[in-house]
Symmetry: C2
Subunit: 266 residues, 2 copies
């Protein structure tokens, strides 16, 4: 863990708890177009719940609502432990900067027990990571330097007509997987509208959800392996579109599903 | 609106605002197994935001976390207007009963403007409502009396092997569609684990999300039409499974997508 303590991801999601509130700092190296990379904000909100002294269990679900772009500089996160049950725990979080809410979130944590198991979704048949070149964005944004992505299909640059992206992805430099990193990876897909229109337009995620469908041991066991990301859309309409995604391990474990609703100007 | 004011759905989601908090009552006629039907709780949380005097625009997204089953009886809902922007507004809600949080929620509201539009998802090819008999549950729960469902495929009673359900659905008695009713309809699907195992097991939704992908006029224009619900699952594992769904109008408008994470004991 000594190595991961100095990883840029851990620096960007670091929080100091003063016994009442969590204190962190928006960092320019994870910036996107007009605000921080949504994935790093989501990971920071999850981290606040993880670090809460009353926390039990591991994350099951996270929803993050992006109310306004945080500026580079300090922020506080307030965490309310809304309810603690025998096997689940509910958190509500707010990120505040200059006395205004910039992000809200809820998270459900829980204990997992053995049960009947079945994977219903089908992992796409894709080339192995070694057979796909690393994607180099023509005009990379700061946060992209921290992700190693091999775009198998579905970018703004290829001739795919649908809104389906397959990509191998991992933190760069490599960092052992945990729930926060997995949540952030769920937000690394190129916006679906770019894939359809083959050009960038102004966009901004308004809400983002991750369900952790694998048990914690399976998530941690991935280490620094590249993971398969799958993303699609259902509808683009009157200024908004959605994204539905999956994250798979190389050996076919469905680690997480993710959805987001995104503002677009086009 | 005089008619809808007396519909059981409107009675069950009714809230009185005292200038500070919203007051409502859990009603036995919308009860499920060990708590209220999740759809009516979701609709009530959305209604609290709708009725807030500072509310602007119409719902874009709703996430509801079920922390504990509400008992039959009075509750309060606290609504925080976390942020109001030019075109979006963010709400955080808590439902409280006997001084304990039973439900948390967030909602994003917004104004919609014309933009490039495209429906990427494909509406399943299904029989028209008139060609499908009404579904009669063998042991109906109280809330089910308020929904008219024609199960096209995917129940605990048929021989479908996957976890995909298609159903025509509407409020019963008929009630003109709005965002609250649409949110509740998103929770009317039989639990995915019943469809797989062909038997009921103890379950409980822990978190539920709806994205409203059609504009408000299109939603209101549905009136009392039956809508096509589509639900599937991606994974069942260590006590939890997910559901991903879509709601379509008869003329092919994708009205909403929905996800939920559900506890199961099996």
């Amino acid at each position: 863990m000594a190595q991961s303590a100095t990883h840029p991801f851990d620096q960007a999601t670091a929080l100091f708890f003063d016994g009442e509130r969590f204190h962190g700092e928006t960092r320019p190296e994870y910036y996107n177009m007009v605000g921080p990379f949504g994935g790093i904000t989501a990971a920071t909100m999850l981290n606040a719940a993880m670090l809460h002294p009353a926390r039990l269990g591991q994350p099951l679900a996270l929803t993050v609502n992006f109310a306004a772009p945080a500026k580079v500089g300090p922020f506080v996160v307030d965490v309310i432990v809304a309810r603690t049950n025998r096997s689940t725990q509910h958190f509500s979080m707010s990120m505040i900067q200059d006395a205004e809410v910039v992000t809200t979130a809820t998270a459900v944590f829980g204990l997992r027990r053995d049960s009947w198991s079945h994977v219903e979704a089908v992992m796409p048949d894709v080339p192995t990571p070694g057979d796909v070149p690393r994607f180099e964005a023509p005009a990379p944004l700061p946060w992209m330097q921290w992700y190693h992505v091999r775009l198998i299909r579905g970018s703004a640059l290829d001739d795919v007509e649908d809104a389906v992206t397959y990509q191998w992805m991992r933190d760069d430099p490599p960092r052992p997987l945990d729930h926060a990193a997995l949540a952030a990876l769920c937000d690394t897909f190129v916006p679906r509208v770019y894939v359809k229109l083959k050009r960038p337009v102004p966009i901004g995620t308004v809400t983002f959800t991750v369900y952790f469908l694998a048990d914690p041991d399976t998530i941690f066991r991935q280490g620094t392996n590249e993971l398969l990301g799958v993303a699609r859309a259902t509808r683009f309409h009157q200024g908004y579109f959605d994204q539905i995604g999956e994250v798979w391990s190389q050996d076919g474990e469905l680690l997480a599903t993710t959805t987001q609703l995104v503002y677009m100007k086009t």
